[in-house]
Each structure stands twice: as structure tokens, then as C-alpha cells.
Point group: C2
Chain length 126, copies 2
Amino acid sequence: MQRKTTQRTAIEQVFLNEDRALGIEEILRLGRTQVESLNQATVYRNLKLLIDKGWLKQINHPAMGTLYECTGKGHHHHFHCHGCNRVFELPGCSLNQETAAPEGFIVEDHEIFLFGVCPSCAASPQ
Amino acid sequence: MQRKTTQRTAIEQVFLNEDRALGIEEILRLGRTQVESLNQATVYRNLKLLIDKGWLKQINHPAMGTLYECTGKGHHHHFHCHGCNRVFELPGCSLNQETAAPEGFIVEDHEIFLFGVCPSCAASPQ
DNA sequence: ACGCTAATGCGAATGCATTTGCATTATACA
DNA sequence: TGTATAATGCAAATGCATTCGCATTAGCGT
């Protein structure tokens, strides 16, 4: 049977706290504030487990590589802040999929990646 | 001095012929129709060279990984056909960058990846 | 045509994210 | 509480794209 471990709980908590797409390094760093001994291999094992369970999904960000985020948030896009290097999830979608491609192309899905500065970095730049 | 080799000429020709973003495997396969002996290491060396020269640029496609495309085409987006696995470059942009993110986010740039079926695959599906 | 040397082809080596084997730890059922 | 075993931490191993070393080939200036 599957056991509830402090490590997995910590990882889940990190996603709930941050509410944004996270990379392994970030998950590891934030998770260690809860479980000091948290190991990278454990993170990978639990990410896989949470993906199988349908609680997380993997995304490939063109600038940040592999990221993980909670499922069930509906269609949204990703904003990468080059100030703090965080990737935010922006709900909603202003793209008209009909007019996004020329005649003849059948558009079934899309992903939008935005780049710039987040509100917090815009307010206090380093 | 830099020499003009049949291999590099072939690689350039592949990009001019296809007029779309290409991955290494594809470049190698198409290049070999011109220079049978074309080697993967040579492709990498020339891609780097053409990027340094500013003739090519690299893009990271969330589904196709690293792709290369000619520069100087202006702002465009990428359409990935899951029929033929080709990535097309779609000129123009229907995204309003002002309204793409909530108040407070400063959007400086964006990338859009579309997924679906290209005209040629829609006409003759396999 | 000749000769210098940049560029190629080949296979081995690298760097990186991810995974695995195994001894150890700790969860949860009896 | 004791115990079976799932899960961890660690380090080594893997898989992958990309790079490198080196002997050989082939542009290009003479």
C-alpha cells in the first residue's frame, strides 16, 4: 500500500503554497524548508507518483525547461518573470484560435508563454 | 579563413527549401539527400556557425525540443502538426499583449505554439 | 597542380537531467 | 509496541543531446 510520508506531504504543500509552475531545483529548495533532508531522487520519485495520480502535470517551458504544476486549473498561460525567474500561471485566454492560423490549418490546442516583469519585481527591482 | 563546403551549403539549402523550423534529425535526413556522407557532428558544427553568423536561431519547442530556423522572418508563431510532425512558421500575430496578462504584469515578449493538423495532412490523412 | 590548413567523419567523451540499486529509515497494520 | 515493507537518502548508473580529439579529406590561395 502507499504510505503518507512527510516528504511527499512537503512537496504537495510547496505546490499549494506557491500556486505556480515549479522546476525541480525550486521544489527541492522550498521542500527543504519543511523537510531538511529532502533528497532530489525523492522529489523525482514523488513527482512521478503525483503525475500518475493525476495531481500534477509536466510542462515544457521554452526558457525554464521542465516544470510541474497542479492539474485542474483549467486553460491558462505562463508568464516568466526575468526578474525573479518565477513562472506564473495566468488564468483565461485572449487568443482567438480560429484566426490564429491561416486557412487550412486545423488548430486543436495552443500554449502561450509570456515574458516580462511580474508585479512584485516591477515594484521592487533589484 | 572560412571555407565554403558542400556540407554547409547543403544545410543552408535545406532551410531555404523547407522554410520552417527544423530539428537536428530532420536537418540530417534532408541534408543527406544532397550530401550522402553528411555527419551529425558536422551538422552541429555548422548550426553553431550559422547561429554565430546570425543566419539561424535556436528555438525551444515544448513538444519538439530544440529547433533551428532562419532569422529575419519577423514575429511569427509555430504550428506543430501531429500528422507529419512538422513545425510550420505562421506569420503575423493576433495576440493583444496588453490584455494577455493581468494588471501589474509587464509583458515584453511572448511565444505562441499551436497544435493541430496542417493543410496537407488534413487533405490526405494517413 | 601544389600545399596549407579549415572542415569533415568517426567514435569516444562530455554534461545534463533523470533513474536506479541498495542499505537504512519510518509508516501503518496487526 | 512490534514488525513487515514502502519510502528515503545516497551515490552510482543511465539516457540523451551535444561536443571533442584526431586522422583524413577537400577548399582555396599561390
